[in-house]
């Protein structure tokens, strides 16, 4: 069977799949080994922090999302990863500071996200859901903690709630109908 070649020779080896195939074994080995070592050495459960760290590195470097990567979603993902890591460290390794630090991280990130959004409004109006999710989550968490928890440094939470509320209102005012359209698209069944 004689085949006439009518295609160019491929110039680009698909690297990511190969990198994932190579990298997954050390990652899996570490993910299995750490809990075992942790069980053997006993409390504290530092392996959970390691596992989360592995997941963060894996999901942001080797196997990023296939849909919905933009500057806001990446920023929100980064902040979420950091916050979960901080909470885990606080709960498992060095308690007592997360209630102050996490709100500070969150309101700082809200500022960053707001800058990213308002400096490229035309394009980013299509990507508002991650920002909205972060804003609403911040607002609800800050409100709940302020109402329910008395022995906590209050100013970061107040700043966080105020900033989240302001950002939400600003987004609503700027986007108007697009805001509702974004919600409809996102929650459509």
């Amino acid at each position: 069977m004689k085949v006439e070649i009518v295609y160019p020779s491929p110039t680009r080896p698909p690297r990511r799949v190969r990198v994932i195939a190579c990298a997954k074994w050390p990652f899996l080995a570490t993910a299995y080994a750490c809990p075992l070592i942790n069980v053997a050495t006993g409390w504290p459960a530092w392996s959970l922090v390691v596992l989360w760290g592995l997941w963060v590195v894996w999901s942001s470097t080797f196997s990023p999302q296939l849909i919905g990567i933009n500057r806001i979603s990446q920023c929100v993902k980064f902040v979420t990863d950091i916050v979960v890591a901080l909470v885990l460290i606080d709960l498992l390794l060095a308690p007592g500071w997360a209630a102050t630090v996490v709100p500070i991280v969150c309101f700082s990130s809200l500022v960053v996200v707001a800058v990213l959004f308002f400096t490229d409004l035309d394009r980013q109006r299509l990507n508002i859901m991650p920002m909205l999710a972060l804003t609403v989550l911040c607002l609800i968490s800050a409100g709940t903690i302020l109402a329910a928890w008395r022995n906590v440094t209050r100013w970061p939470l107040i700043v966080l709630a105020a900033l989240a509320g302001a950002l939400l209102i600003a987004t609503l005012v700027v986007l108007r109908r697009d805001f509702l359209r974004a919600l409809r698209k996102f929650f459509d069944i």
Binding site: M1, K2, Y7, S9, T11, L66, I67, D122, K185
Partner: protein, 522 residues
Amino acid sequence: MDDVTDVTTVPARRRDKCHRLTLAGHDCVFEAYLERLGSGDAATVGSFLAELDQRCLLPRSQKDEMRRDFERALVWYDHAGVALTEALTRLAMTNLGGFYARPSQAWYRLDDAAKIYPLSMRHGRMEVFRLAARLTSPVVPELLQMALTFTVKRFPTFATSVKKGMFWHYLDAAKRRHVISPETDLPCQPLKIAGSSAPPFRVAWYRDRISVEYFHVLTDGAGGMVFLKTLVAEYLRLLTGADPASTPDDGILDVNAAASAQEAANEFPRAEKTELTSGFIDKRATQMGGHLSRIKPCRVLHFRIDAEQLRAVARRRNATVTAYLLACMFVAGRAATDELTGEHSIQVPVDMRKFYPSRTLRNFSMYCGVRLGLDQIGDLDTVLPAISDQLTRKASKSAMSQMLNSTLRIVTTTRWVPLFIKAPVARLIYGFLGDSIFSNTLSNLGVVTFPEPLASQVAVLDFVLGAPQTNRASCALVTYGGTATLSITKVTLDPSFEETVHALLTADGIDVTVEGTAPHEG
């Protein structure tokens, strides 16, 4: 046209430098062209291009690129000896309509068949298929770029990007300059759709071939063919100036007409409601032998077959062309496996438009599985009756409607499950089952025609399926201009399957010429 080089192959810093040099080079060429024209014509060109400001509200960088697209096309016309007035008529700004002047606001739910595709994709695995037209003359990229710019506005569901919702993915309108690229990769490689307005299709060219590769989320073979034909028709209009008197029945849309709601419709709810529903799960099928290649597909082959001969042979054997080719595939599949027991199963997509006439450009196809025990597979004569019988039963309207209703039921049942739960579950099930209930696929797009004078400029059409997951091959057939092209997508270097198909066809007196890629293992 250097700006359409596949920029992903070049490191970013070098790419920027090359791009700047290219732009500077282009500016020089265009300035020289304007000087050659003389002041009167140069002013005409200037006012022609000034209209772009009114027609295009894309971000500045994209608008500049679009302006350069027009400039390049004008320069090409000049080199080709086309008069300026004729060139300006062919490139008339009215072809842009208001599409690029309006902000993106539309969005589209995925049709019910498309919902699984973004859920099941992974790095390196994506349901992509290709439709390509080989012309009688080399492709002029300058004009192809313009043809794409003019054509894509007619297909608003294509000018989109895939986005994540709470419960389902959706298509969000993305106004951007869609870019053609030279073909430098194996067919049907995964598309990069992660970006904010990344398109779920790509248009590539190589020598005399225009190829469009679609993420299946967007359309099926029938819808994709309408896009390809419209793009080719628009390209040939720009090339020759001849405006074909086509009708929607030709499958070529008027690029300046408004899109209709029917074209964007999800037609699945139109299916007859049936009490019975059919399942998607079946016994695992035997697979052909040979190591799965690391790079998928590792080879694509096109069997160019005389359509009349093929039809005559099928008729002589009392079968349809699809049944005859399925028989060849069963016999070839049997020859390509060392297994002695089990069942060989071939997936056959069925266009639902033949049961429920529709103009939709979205997915509207289902599939059936033709299944034979390995012990039943002998020569063509022994398998053909069983295949014809199964095809008649399983690809019938009632069977397909049952499957359609199953799809609807799954979609309805899972609609309140958030995407972050659905996605890993779907990936798990898809990863576990994958395509293992089938051994192969045969998708027959049927006979495609172009009206004159386009027909004389289109030599042949190709339809290529993306690389399967565990099946060692998948096949697709399209017939155009007296040539039936059977394209085989391979994921193993073992040549037993294609060699047996070739031998069976030639043994039946059918002339086959074979084209394709070189074998590739990375």
